[in-house]
């Protein structure tokens, strides 16, 4: 993914699975706020045994309902992006997490049935533009909920601040 000019439209990666109600405290705990990144990164999603040691850049997350519920801390999606999580595909998201992910051009998709369609370690392919999720390990596919065109425009621009910069430049 290229943070400046938007994002690639097809994302592939190995799946880490999470359940329901994974809140943003688990992605950016209060106790890790003042820690340097090398230490703080170890607390990201520490509630999943093995994630801290086993996660490799480009791996993806499949989750149940309400992923990213709770606090508005933008460090939650920002930390996942910085860790190089490829994308998050979930049954549903906490609304602020979803908004902030769009705002920082971190790819997330609502996809009903996704938590039953994947086992941990499966290969996932997300075609972001088409909202299409494939399980490459099992040869199955699912349709996610397409984002409104206005939001795709934000993500394609590389995030809200990039869009604002473009708009401000155009107005000058």
């Amino acid at each position: 993914m290229d943070g400046k000019s938007g994002m690639s439209l097809v994302i592939k990666g190995k799946v880490w699975k999470f359940g329901d109600d994974i809140n943003t405290d688990y992605m950016a705990p209060g106790f890790a706020k003042s820690q340097p990144w090398e230490l703080a990164r170890k607390s990201i999603l520490h509630i999943h045994p093995g994630f801290t040691e086993g996660f490799a850049a480009g791996d993806v997350i499949v989750a149940g309902e309400n992923f990213g519920c709770g606090s508005s801390r933008e460090a939650a999606p920002a930390n996942l992006k910085r860790l190089q999580v490829g994308c998050v595909v979930a049954e549903s998201f906490g609304r602020i997490f979803l908004r902030s992910s769009v705002a920082i051009a971190f790819p997330v998709l609502i996809c009903r049935g996704v938590s039953r369609a994947f086992e941990e370690g499966d290969e996932l392919e997300l075609n972001y533009e088409a909202s299409l999720v494939r399980n490459l390990t099992r040869g199955t596919e699912l349709n996610g909920t397409p984002l409104p065109a206005e939001l795709v425009r934000i993500v394609a621009a590389g995030g809200m601040m990039q869009l604002l910069k473009q708009e401000a430049g155009a107005a000058r």
């Binding site: 309400n66 549903s92 705002a103 409104p148």
Partner: protein, 419 residues
């Protein structure tokens, strides 16, 4: 068909005749609120693209409340920078260390009025729904965008309505009612939705009680958590603002996705057990749970009335040996009132520790966090694992009254025996 409160506000703010659930609109906001947890990031986002200006310096509120007084040299430096940044952007409404928690300061200072559209870089920005405002949480990037443009995208949410019937029994508070609703309906009941609290128990509820309920609306996933603005709302707001204030509610024929009728008189004091706010049981059904810390504080439940009722329970009694009681008033205004009416004296004599108005240990940031293996009972809104300190600590959520009674016995206790 008429419109719900959410639809009315978003239609006005998007300059449309009417809107319906699912509509996607760009709306003008009436207020952008931020704090020391997110504002520095928003400022940096603006600095990075060379756009350091705001759409309207009157319509931005910044509060320092998460780490107060400064908890480390790095935090102190961040606060110093914030003071300069706020000045540089010309922001008029800046509340420094000690004024209070954002969600208490914004209503107190008259920044949230009925029918306003408000965004805040904190998930509990739903609080101002208690005054009839459409108010919701966003992240720091969207906050930066809204500070410059005064606009943001919204998808019009469907609304669910809770008809609160009957009367809360003695010793049962709006916090207990909200925990009972979370226990029954779960944390996803209002995901992507607006909530309207209505009915006789909502009408008779104090403004403080409404603020508590709208605050925890966030734990239901609610985008907005409304009460209709009535005579009580106007009486609260008129001394606090020069802007015109009017009653505001949904149309009588508004369309709801669901209407839930709740018999409030059947509810007893509730406790949310670790580590989810919807893991709720009546206090009478809990076994013996010993606690090391009791905390009355946070944007949920640390207002003047809360402290008065806590003082009534603790009057002439002592905090149990081996138990710490920490009380953090929600704002300076609350602290002044609690000093004048004698609540603070009672609390101090009972053995409570009192700290500077602010978020305290609620988010794990400041004064009074929990250590490994400790149990804490708190009048706060979240009990996620690790939220209030160590990832190996345990947080129980309850009303301020239940927290006070538990401090007396050193274990979770039904407050009604001390009333």
């Amino acid at each position: 068909m008429g419109m719900t409160m959410a639809e009315k506000v978003l239609a006005r703010a998007a300059a449309r005749q009417r809107v319906s659930p699912g509509d996607f609109v760009t709306a003008h906001v009436d207020l952008v609120m931020s704090n020391d947890a997110q504002f520095p990031g928003s400022y940096k986002a603006l600095d990075d693209i060379g756009l350091k200006r705001v759409f309207d310096p009157e319509k931005i509120v910044v509060v320092i409340d998460h780490w107060v007084p400064a908890t480390s040299p790095a935090i102190a430096e961040m606060h110093t920078l914030m003071r300069q940044q706020v000045k540089e952007l010309g922001i008029r409404h800046f509340y420094d260390v000690g004024v209070g928690i954002e969600h208490n300061v914004v209503p107190e200072k008259g920044h949230a009025l009925p029918g306003d559209l408000i965004v805040g870089s904190d998930s509990h920005s739903t609080t101002y729904g208690a005054l009839g405002a459409a108010s919701t949480g966003i992240g720091l990037t969207e906050t930066a965008y809204a500070m410059v443009t005064g606009q943001l995208w919204f998808q019009v949410p469907p609304t669910i309505r809770f008809e609160l019937e009957g009367t809360l029994a003695r010793g049962v508070t709006p916090k207990d009612l909200m925990l009972a609703l979370l226990g029954r309906f779960g944390t996803q009941v209002a995901q992507y939705k607006a909530v309207e609290f209505a009915g006789p128990a909502a009408d008779s509820m104090s403004i403080e009680g409404r603020l508590t309920m709208s605050n925890i609306g966030s734990e239901m996933g609610a985008k907005f958590a409304f009460f209709a603005a009535d005579a009580k709302t106007l009486a609260y707001l008129r001394p606090r603002t020069d802007r015109p204030v009017q009653v505001f509610g949904p149309d009588a024929d508004a369309g709801y996705e669901a209407v839930h009728r709740i018999d409030c008189s059947a509810i007893e004091p509730q406790v949310a057990l670790p580590h989810q706010p919807d893991n709720v049981k009546p206090v009478s059904e809990l076994g013996e749970i010993w606690i090391q810390q009791a905390f009355v504080g946070s944007c949920t439940n640390a207002r003047a009335g809360d402290l008065e009722r806590v003082a009534a329970i603790l009057k002439g009694r002592k905090v149990a040996p081996g138990t710490r009681l920490l009380v953090i008033p929600a704002s300076h205004e609350v602290m002044v009132e609690a000093t004048r009416n004698g609540s603070l004296a009672v609390l101090v004599e009972a053995g409570a520790m009192i700290a500077t108005p602010g978020c305290g240990p609620c988010g794990g940031g400041s004064t009074g966090v929990l250590g490994p293996g400790e149990n804490g009972i708190a009048s706060t809104n979240r009990n996620f694992k690790g939220r209030m300190g160590s990832a190996e600590s345990f947080v129980y959520l309850a009303s301020p009254e239940t927290v006070a009674a538990s401090a007396i016995e050193g274990r979770i206790t039904d407050p009604r025996k001390y009333m």
